[in-house]
């Protein structure tokens, strides 16, 4: 691979790399190395699809990715309708997905962390043959707690935002105030001009009356 004049350095680098990264993997492809903890591959397939959807959402929150995730959740749900632990976890994931779908990039930054964690818990509970029932319950409990904590964080964040909005008028509020002021001053101007118009009209009427009176007097004088 390398020319002879470069040989000594590359041989040294190769030796060093072998020391650091040796006995690490197989140069021939090893199919059995995939997820050794999950014994039943046919059972694992829907979860693999779900994981792919989780990774898609993690990469970018799009309606397509979330819809795919929810669809996959429903498929898994139908296969585990009698397993309360799994159903509860699916419900949590569904709530998180709906929240992400509505809020997208504005969602709380911890949402994806919790979603990935609940997914891992679900995968563990559904596929690991070594897990006892109490361990499964414990896993659910941990994930429920994380979900509750996230809900509290979302509520706190919303409250914080609301406080800031009250304390500091936003551009929108400012423009609304300005608009109201403008409307108010417009109507004042309108009221003033109407008053002036009425008074001018009265003046004209008076002027015409006076002029007519004068004309009448003159006509009477001429006729007499």
């Amino acid at each position: 691979m390398v020319e002879e004049k470069n040989g000594s350095i590359t041989i040294e680098v190769e030796q060093r790399l072998d020391e650091l990264f040796g006995d690490s993997d197989n140069s021939s492809f090893d199919h059995s190395s995939h997820h050794p903890e999950f014994e039943d591959c046919s059972e694992a397939l829907p979860f693999r699809e779900l994981k792919s959807a989780v990774l898609s959402i993690d990469w970018e929150i799009t309606d397509d990715a979330i819809n795919r995730f929810i669809k996959q959740l429903n498929e898994i749900k139908s296969g585990y309708s009698k397993n309360k632990i799994i159903i509860n976890m699916i419900q949590i994931l569904n709530s998180l997905a709906v929240y992400l779908k509505i809020n997208k990039g504005r969602a709380h930054p911890n949402t994806m962390k919790v979603l990935k964690s609940v997914f891992s818990g679900l995968e563990k509970v559904a596929l690991s043959k070594k897990l006892s029932e109490s361990e499964k319950k414990k896993t659910l409990f941990v994930e429920v707690e994380k979900f509750k904590e996230l809900k509290q964080q979302i509520i706190a964040l919303k409250a914080d935002k609301a406080k800031k909005t009250e304390a500091k008028p936003t551009e929108e509020t400012k423009s609304k105030v300005k608009e109201t002021q403008e409307t108010h001053s417009d109507s004042t101007i309108h009221m003033i001009s109407e008053k002036a118009y009425r008074s001018a009209l009265e003046d004209i009427k008076k002027f015409i009356k006076v002029e007519f009176d004068k004309l009448r007097k003159e006509l009477n004088m001429h006729s007499s």
């Binding site: 691979m1 470069n6 060093r16 790399l17 090893d30 591959c41 970018e60 962390k113």
Partner: protein, 201 residues
């Protein structure tokens, strides 16, 4: 171009994992980090944006020790694969010394592989670099999925699509299980060091 400091006798080389989105670039680095952390004694840095999504890049530096009196430091980077993050990819490619192109073996990703390789060629040309002169290794990832009946591109097709002109070393791999992850990395480090030495002579 690698950073060489003759005073401190230090050489820093930059290797970038390139490829289409969701192809397994980050998984490669994560595997190396998890598997060899005890030996390479380093931290993996993941630059994330709001929402905890990996939108910028991952960075894994490690030291291979002194070679001919020089301390060789390797820096592994990934780039975001999605089309819209081209600006980030261009930025990460600045000063690159070696590239691992991680292709996705799924049949449905065939076109994305080809487009991503073209994108790599274009972005390298911005730095006046020719892909043919660059140390490059191809990795055909996700080969493990064949066992689950998921349709994969045959190796001949991948070679024809991506490597017919380049003719660079290639590996079948599974970044998830670690198969050939270290082999790929070792190969690119060796090629990069050899290339640097050639340039310096």
């Amino acid at each position: 171009m690698a950073f060489i400091n003759p005073k401190t006798k230090e050489v820093q080389t930059k290797i970038v994992y390139y490829g289409p989105g969701r192809g397994g670039k980050t998984t490669n680095l994560e595997y190396i980090y998890k598997k060899f952390n005890q030996r390479i004694k380093t931290d993996m840095v993941v630059i994330k944006t709001h929402g905890d999504r990996t939108l910028f890049f991952d960075f894994l530096p490690f030291d291979i020790g002194k070679i001919k009196g020089y301390d060789i430091k390797i820096q592994l980077y990934t780039v975001p694969g999605q089309v819209k993050y081209d600006a980030t990819r261009k930025l990460v490619l600045r000063g690159v010394d070696g590239i691992v192109f991680v292709a996705d073996s799924l049949v449905v990703r065939r076109e994305k592989n080809i487009l991503s390789l073209k994108n790599l060629r274009d972005n390298l040309s911005l730095y006046k670099k020719n892909i043919s002169d660059m140390p490059l290794v191809l990795q055909y990832n996700k080969r493990d999925l064949a066992e689950q009946g998921i349709p994969l591109l045959p190796l001949q097709t991948l070679e024809q699509d991506l490597n017919s002109q380049l003719k660079v070393p290639s590996f079948e791999a599974s970044a998830l299980s670690g198969t050939n992850v270290a082999q790929t990395m070792k190969k690119i480090v060796l090629m990069t060091v050899a290339s640097l030495q050639k340039q310096l002579i």
